[in-house]
């Protein structure tokens, strides 16, 4: 194809210089998104940290209850403690057992639940 077009000076539109402002909004958006992700990661790590802390508390409590039950039964067996009504011991031991089960339920339901994804 021959060069038939006149080769005059091409005048460019100089008014369209909006890109830096548009770029700024895109960059600002990127920085906001990065901050959001940082917060989410922090939230997740705090969640895991609290979970670990509460797990330790509950484990300690469970150990205390089990040790108490054992000590309680041994004390009764060795006649260090005596109760007039034999049902009292049964109620206390059953109550303690239910407490252990209740705590186990809390552990399973809340502490081992998946942390929020988003």
């Amino acid at each position: 194809m021959g060069n038939t077009q006149p080769r005059g000076k091409i005048i460019l539109s100089m008014e369209d210089k909006t890109q830096p402002a548009v770029e700024e909004t895109v960059i600002e958006d990127a920085n906001i998104k990065l901050e959001e992700l940082k917060l989410k990661i922090q939230e997740k790590s705090e969640f895991l940290s609290y979970r670990r802390q509460w797990s330790r508390y509950l484990l300690t409590l469970l150990v205390v209850i089990v040790v108490f039950n054992a000590a309680f039964l041994v004390s009764i067996g060795m006649e260090l403690l005596t109760f007039k009504d034999e049902w009292l011991v049964r109620i206390i031991i059953t109550g303690s057992f239910v407490e252990v089960l209740g705590l186990a339920k809390i552990v399973v339901d809340f502490l081992f639940k998946e942390p929020p994804k988003n």
């Binding site: 194809m1 021959g2 060069n3 077009q5 080769r7 091409i10 460019l12 539109s13 100089m14 369209d16 210089k17 890109q19 830096p20 548009v22 770029e23 700024e24 895109v26 960059i27 958006d29 990127a30 920085n31 998104k33 990065l34 992700l37 989410k40 990661i41 997740k44 994804k117 988003n118």
Partner: protein, 200 residues
């Protein structure tokens, strides 16, 4: 196309250090700092500019695919802003800066390269180098490595690509290509973040 990425990375890192750039890089501001003029233009006008500069007509079959042009003599980037998102325009600036830095010795050759297919240096290689430079400048290794920890919050696949593209203010296409090169260069990091199953 296999290119030697080490010197390209070095040049991009030098530029990042020189202008103390932070991610996402302000590309228009960087062009100003480097004394590069830029000009938005339509496809039709870009066609006229290139034809005028090269003294040839109909040298490119699809002008819509020409995103930019760098005029070495006037140090001006002509940006095709027709249907081009700001992220693509940012990449175009980075790409043309790449040409300026990497191929400054080929200034005279560039015109020939642009016009002819049978030149000594294949045009594809030059374009691949400029693309790698642009990808690295907008998404440096360190910044990708730093942000990979956030993939744990994302499901995978396209979601990761789109979210990362937003974090770097680039197009998802550019992010996908950069991820592929990053994976190739740092397979151990890729594996650490379990991205094998989440991404490609």
């Amino acid at each position: 196309m296999a290119i030697d990425t080490t010197p390209i990375k070095k040049q991009a890192e030098e530029l990042i250090d020189k202008y103390v750039l932070t991610v996402p890089v302000h590309m228009f501001e960087l062009a100003d700092l480097m004394g590069i003029k830029w000009q938005s233009t339509s496809t039709e006008r870009l066609k006229k500019i290139i034809e005028r500069k090269s003294n040839k007509k109909d040298i490119i079959p699809n002008w819509e695919d020409v995103y930019g042009y760098f005029d070495h003599t006037t140090k001006t980037i002509y940006l095709n802003d027709e249907n081009q998102s700001i992220t693509r325009q940012r990449f175009t600036i980075a790409h043309e800066i790449g040409h300026m830095i990497l191929h400054h010795n080929l200034q005279s050759l560039m015109r020939k390269i642009f016009l002819r297919q049978d030149v000594v240096v294949p045009r594809d290689e030059i374009e691949a180098e400029a693309n790698y430079f642009a990808g690295y400048l907008l998404m440096p290794d360190g910044a990708i490595e730093d942000r990979l920890k956030y993939t744990v919050l994302m499901i995978g696949g396209e979601q990761i690509i789109k979210k990362f593209a937003k974090l770097f203010a680039v197009s998802p296409e550019a992010m996908r290509v950069r991820f592929k090169t990053f994976k190739k260069e740092y397979p151990e990091l890729w594996a650490t973040h379990n991205l094998e199953e989440k991404l490609f």
